[in-house]
C-alpha cells in the first residue's frame, strides 16, 4: 500500500503512457477510420493526463477542449460526411512501403533517441514559476494567461489570423462547386 502511494505518480504516468501508445498504434493499425479516430481520442486524453502530471493544468484543459472536443468531432463529422467506410478497398499501393517505412522509423527513433538521451536526465525545477504571476503565486491558468497576453501578444494575434485563414480555407475547399462561377 505504501509502495502504491509512494509510486502513485509513476503508476499514473505509466498507465497514461500505455494508453497513449496503444492509441497511437491503433491509429495506424485499425483499418476503419472510425476506430482509428476513437483510438486517437484515447491518445489525446492520455496526453492531457500527462500534461496534468507535468503541472500544466491549463494545457490539459485546452487539450481536452480543443482536441477531444473540437478536432475529434470534426474528424468524426467528416468521416460520416464522406462515408469513408463505403469506399471499396482496392489493392494497396502503400503496403509495399511498410517494411521500408518501419525500418526508417526505427532508425529515426534510434538516432533521435541517441540525441535526447544525454539531455533527458532532467528533474523538474520546483515548478513555482509555472504558477507565478508578476511575482505573486496564483494558478497555472492565470500564469499562462498573463504570459500569453503580455509577452506573447504578437504570436497570439498572428495565430488569430491563422484561425481566420483556416475558416476561409475550410469554406473555400468544402463548399459545393455549382458549375462555372463557383458561387458560395
Amino acid at each position: 500500500m505504501t509502495w502504491f502511494l509512494v509510486h502513485f505518480a509513476e503508476i499514473v504516468f505509466y498507465s497514461l503512457a500505455a494508453v497513449a501508445l496503444a492509441g497511437a498504434v491503433g491509429v495506424i493499425a485499425f483499418r476503419s477510420p472510425v476506430h482509428a479516430a476513437l483510438s486517437l481520442l484515447g491518445t489525446f486524453l492520455a496526453v492531457a493526463g500527462v500534461f496534468v502530471l507535468m503541472q500544466a493544468e491549463f494545457l490539459a484543459a485546452v487539450q481536452v477542449l480543443v482536441y477531444a472536443g473540437g478536432v475529434m468531432v470534426l474528424f468524426l463529422f467528416v468521416i460520416m460526411l464522406v462515408k469513408a467506410r463505403d469506399i471499396p478497398d482496392e489493392p494497396q499501393y502503400v503496403r509495399r512501403l511498410v517494411p521500408a517505412a518501419v525500418g526508417l522509423g526505427a532508425l529515426l527513433a534510434a538516432l533521435v533517441g541517441v540525441g535526447i538521451w544525454a539531455a533527458s536526465g532532467g528533474l523538474p525545477a520546483d515548478g513555482a514559476a509555472l504558477r507565478m504571476v508578476a511575482g505573486a503565486p496564483l494558478g497555472n491558468t492565470e500564469a499562462v494567461g498573463w504570459s500569453l497576453y503580455r509577452d506573447y501578444l504578437l504570436p497570439f494575434e498572428v495565430v488569430s489570423i491563422v484561425l481566420l485563414v483556416a475558416m476561409i480555407g475550410a469554406i473555400v475547399m468544402g463548399r459545393k462547386e455549382s458549375g462555372r462561377g463557383g458561387a458560395a
Binding site: 499501393y93 502503400v94 509495399r96 512501403l97 521500408a100 517505412a101 526508417l104 522509423g105 532508425l107 529515426l108 538516432l111 533521435v112 541517441v114 540525441g115
Partner: protein, 689 residues
C-alpha cells in the same frame, strides 16, 4: 571616335534588333532586310576604322585607350572587410590597344564582306528565315565585338557567351534537318565545358587579384611577379580550358567539324575567321598570366602542336569539301596555340590575322562551289569546275597557296614565323623544355606538309579534271553572282597582301606586326639565345621545301590522266591505315563502343537494381513506358555519335533516374523525406560528436 568605342558593337546590335523584332514579324522584303543588316555591319566597320585611326593618331599605337561606359558592377561588398572583394568594381569598359585594334579591324572587315556575300548566298531562302538569318549574323557581330573590345574578363565573358549563343543558333539554322539540330547541340555542350573553365578562372582571378581588369591585372603581376606565380598556373589552365572549347582544340575539337551543318557563310565567319580564334585572342590578351607559368605554357604548346598534326591527318582523307576545310581550321588553330605556347604571342596573333583572310576566302569559295553544284558537298562528284567558275577558281587557288605556305603569300609568313619561334624555343631550351619544343617543331613541319597535300588534293579534285556529277548538275554549273565573287576577290587580295605586314624572317625591323603588338603582347624572351641568320634561312628553305613537296605529291596523285590511280593503289596496299584516317581514327566510334556500351550495361544493371529495390512500388505499365523511352534514348545515341552525345546521354539517363523518385504518390514522397530526416540527424550527430 576613340572615346565612342561603344558605338562599334551598338550598330550591329541595332541591326539585329530591327531585323529580328520588326523585319521578321512584318515579313520585310529581302532587299530591306539586307539594307538594314549591311548598314549595321557597314557602320561598325566605318566606326572601327575611324576609332583605330583616331587612336593611332592621337595617342599612338603603343598606348592603351580605355572607355569606361558605365560602372557595371559597383563595389558590391564595399562595406565588408571580406578580403579583396571589398574593392571589387567592374566597369563596363571597352579598350583599344594594338591587340584589339588588329582583331577589331579584321572582324569588322571580314564580317562586312561576309554580310555582302550572304546577300547572294541566302537569296533562295524565304523572307522570314532571311530576316532571321541576318538578325543572328548581326547579333554575332555585336557579341564578337564586345568580346574583342572588352577591357576586363567580365565584359569579355559577355561577348564570349554571346558568340556561343549565336553560333548555336546559326549552326542549327537549317533545323528541319535533324543532324543540323544535333550538331548545334553538340557545339553548344562542348562550348559549355569550356565556358565552365573560363568562369572558374574569373572567380579565381577575383579571389587572387581582387580585379578582373586587364590593365590592373597586368600592373599587379608586373609589380610583383613572384607573389602571383603560384596562382598563375591554375588560372591560366582554367582560361585555357575555355580557349580549348571555343577554339576546338584536342580533346574538345569534335564540335567544329559538325558545326559545318550551318550555312557556309556562317562557317566562314564564325567557324573559321572570328569566333574560333577567340581562344587564341584570349590567351594573347592574358599573356601576362600565362607567361608566369611555364607549366601552362607547355600545356598550351603541346595541345596546340598535337591538334595541328592530328587534325591535319584527318583532313587528308575527307571527301566533304567543308569537312576538309573544317579539319584544316582545327589544325591551323593548333598552330596558333603552338606559337602562343612557345611564348610567341604576336606570331600566333599574326597567324590569326592572315588565316582570317585565306580561310574565309576558302570557305566562301567552297560555298560558291556548293552553290553551283546545287548543294552537293562531296568532292568525289565534282571536278573540272575551273572552266565553269573562273573567279571562284582563281581566288580559291590563291587562298590555297597562302594556306599551304607558298611564298610570298600570307600563310607563308605567318606559319614560318610560328615554326621559327618554336624552333628558337627548342634550341634556346625555353623553360627547360627544349626537347619538347623541338619535337613540336618537327610535328609542325610534318603538319605543314600535310596541309599542302590535302589542300591541293582538294583543289585538284574539285576544279581540275572532268566533272563527275550527274547531267542535271552539270547543266546547272554557273559562276556565282557579283555579291559573292567580289568578296572573294577582296579576300584573295588580302591573302596575298596580309603577309607583308610581318616579314619577321627578313629581320626584326620588317616585322611590323610584331612591333605593333610588342607593347601588349611581347614575346617571351629566351635569355642569351639567338638563332643565327644562316639557321633562319635554312628553316625557311625547309618549310618552303616541305610545302612544295606536299603540293608535288598531291599533284602527282590527283592531277592529270593518272589521277586517283595512285591513291587507289596506296589504299590497297595500306587499307587499314587509309580507312582509319578516313574514319577520323574512329574516335567517335571508340567512344560509342567502349564508354557508351559500358554505360548501357551499367544502366541496365542499375535498372534491374532499381526495379527490385525501389521500384517494387511502381506499377508495371509505368515502368515499361519509362524503360522504353530510355532505350529509345539509347538508340538515338547509337545513331548519332560521339563524346558529347555520351555526355548528353549520361545526363539524360541521370535525369530520368532522378525523376523516377517523383513517382506520384504522396506516401512515397513522405518516405523519401523520412530518408532525409534520418540522414540529416545522423550527419548532425556525427559532425557534432
Amino acid at each position: 571616335m576613340k572615346d565612342l568605342l561603344w558605338l562599334i558593337p551598338l550598330f550591329p546590335l541595332l541591326g539585329a534588333a530591327v531585323n529580328g523584332l520588326v523585319g521578321n514579324r512584318r515579313g520585310w522584303s529581302r532587299r530591306t532586310t539586307s539594307a538594314v543588316a549591311l548598314t549595321g555591319s557597314g557602320l561598325a566597320l566605318a566606326a572601327a576604322l575611324a576609332a583605330i585611326a583616331d587612336w593611332a593618331a592621337s595617342v599612338g599605337t603603343a598606348a592603351v585607350h580605355v572607355n569606361r561606359v558605365f560602372t557595371w558592377i559597383p563595389a558590391g561588398f564595399g562595406h565588408t572587410t571580406d578580403g579583396l572583394l571589398a574593392n571589387l568594381t567592374i566597369d563596363f569598359a571597352l579598350r583599344i590597344d594594338a591587340l584589339s585594334a588588329v582583331m577589331l579591324f579584321f572582324v569588322t572587315f571580314v564580317g562586312f564582306l561576309i554580310h555582302v556575300y550572304s546577300v547572294g548566298y541566302m537569296h533562295g531562302e524565304g523572307e522570314r528565315p532571311y530576316a532571321r538569318y541576318f538578325a543572328y549574323l548581326n547579333l554575332f557581330m555585336f557579341a564578337m565585338l564586345t568580346l574583342v573590345l572588352g577591357a576586363n574578363l567580365a565584359v569579355m565573358f559577355v561577348g564570349w557567351e554571346g558568340v556561343g549563343l549565336c553560333s548555336y543558333l546559326l549552326i542549327g539554322f537549317f533545323f528541319e534537318k535533324d543532324w543540323c539540330a544535333s550538331a548545334g547541340k553538340k557545339a553548344f555542350i562542348v562550348n559549355r565545358i569550356g565556358d565552365f573553365g573560363f568562369l572558374l578562372a574569373i572567380f579565381w582571378t577575383v579571389k587572387v587579384f581582387g580585379t578582373v581588369d586587364f590593365a590592373a591585372l597586368q600592373a599587379a603581376i608586373e609589380s610583383d611577379p613572384a607573389r602571383f606565380a603560384a596562382a598563375a598556373t591554375p588560372i591560366a589552365l582554367l582560361l585555357f580550358v575555355g580557349a580549348v572549347g571555343k577554339s576546338a582544340q584536342l580533346p574538345l575539337y569534335v564540335w567544329l567539324p559538325d558545326a559545318m551543318a550551318g550555312p557556309t557563310p556562317v562557317s566562314a565567319l564564325i567557324h573559321a575567321a572570328t569566333m574560333v580564334t577567340a581562344g587564341v585572342y584570349m590567351v594573347a590578351r592574358t599573356n601576362f598570366i600565362f607567361r608566369l607559368s611555364p607549366t601552362a605554357m607547355l600545356v598550351v604548346a603541346v595541345v596546340g602542336g598535337l591538334t595541328a598534326v592530328f587534325a591535319a591527318t584527318i583532313g587528308l582523307a575527307q571527301n566533304d569539301i567543308k569537312k576538309v576545310l573544317a579539319y584544316s581550321t582545327v589544325s591551323q588553330l593548333g598552330y596558333m596555340f603552338l606559337a602562343a605556347g612557345a611564348g610567341a604571342f604576336s606570331a600566333g596573333m599574326f597567324h590569326v590575322f592572315t588565316h582570317a583572310f585565306f580561310k574565309a576566302c576558302l570557305f566562301l569559295g567552297a560555298g560558291s562551289v556548293i552553290h553551283a553544284c546545287s548543294g552537293n558537298q562531296d568532292m568525289r562528284t565534282m571536278g573540272g569546275l575551273k572552266k565553269h567558275m573562273p573567279t571562284t577558281y582563281w581566288t580559291f587557288l590563291v587562298a590555297t597557296l597562302a594556306l599551304a605556305g607558298v611564298p610570298p603569300l600570307a600563310g607563308f609568313f605567318s606559319k614560318d614565323e610560328i615554326l621559327a619561334k618554336v624552333f628558337a624555343a627548342g634550341s634556346g631550351d625555353l623553360y627547360g623544355f627544349g626537347t619538347v619544343y623541338l619535337l613540336l617543331w618537327a610535328l609542325g613541319l610534318a603538319g605543314a606538309f600535310m596541309t599542302a597535300f590535302y589542300m591541293f588534293r582538294l583543289v585538284h579534285t574539285t576544279f581540275h579534271g572532268e566533272f563527275r556529277g550527274t547531267h542535271e548538275q552539270a547543266h546547272h554549273l554557273h559562276e556565282s553572282p557579283k555579291s559573292m565573287t567580289v568578296p572573294l576577290q577582296i579576300l584573295a587580295a588580302g591573302s596575298i597582301a596580309a603577309g607583308f605586314l610581318g616579314m619577321g624572317m627578313f629581320g626584326p625591323k620588317l616585322n611590323w606586326f610584331e612591333g605593333l603588338l610588342h607593347p601588349v603582347a611581347a614575346p617571351v624572351e629566351i635569355e642569351g639565345h639567338h638563332v643565327g641568320v644562316g639557321v633562319e634561312w635554312l628553316l625557311i628553305a625547309l618549310s618552303v621545301g616541305v610545302a612544295l613537296s606536299g603540293i608535288w605529291l598531291a599533284t602527282r596523285w590527283y592531277f592529270g590522266p593518272e589521277a586517283f590511280a595512285r591513291p587507289q593503289r596506296f589504299a590497297e596496299r595500306f587499307p587499314g591505315l587509309v580507312t582509319t584516317v578516313a574514319n577520323k581514327y574512329y574516335v567517335d566510334e571508340a567512344y560509342d563502343a567502349t564508354v557508351v556500351a559500358g554505360t548501357m550495361k551499367l544502366a541496365r544493371g542499375s535498372w534491374e537494381f532499381d526495379a527490385r529495390v525501389v521500384d517494387g512500388a511502381v506499377n508495371g505499365a509505368r515502368h515499361l513506358t519509362v524503360a522504353t523511352s530510355f532505350f529509345s534514348g539509347l538508340f538515338d545515341l547509337n545513331v548519332v555519335d560521339g563524346l558529347v552525345n555520351l555526355v548528353a546521354a549520361a545526363y539524360g539517363w541521370a535525369s530520368r533516374g532522378l525523376r523516377r523518385v517523383q513517382w506520384g504518390v504522396a506516401q512515397g514522397y513522405a518516405l523519401v523525406m523520412t530518408v532525409g530526416f534520418v540522414l540529416m540527424v545522423a550527419a548532425a550527430l556525427w559532425l557534432g560528436r
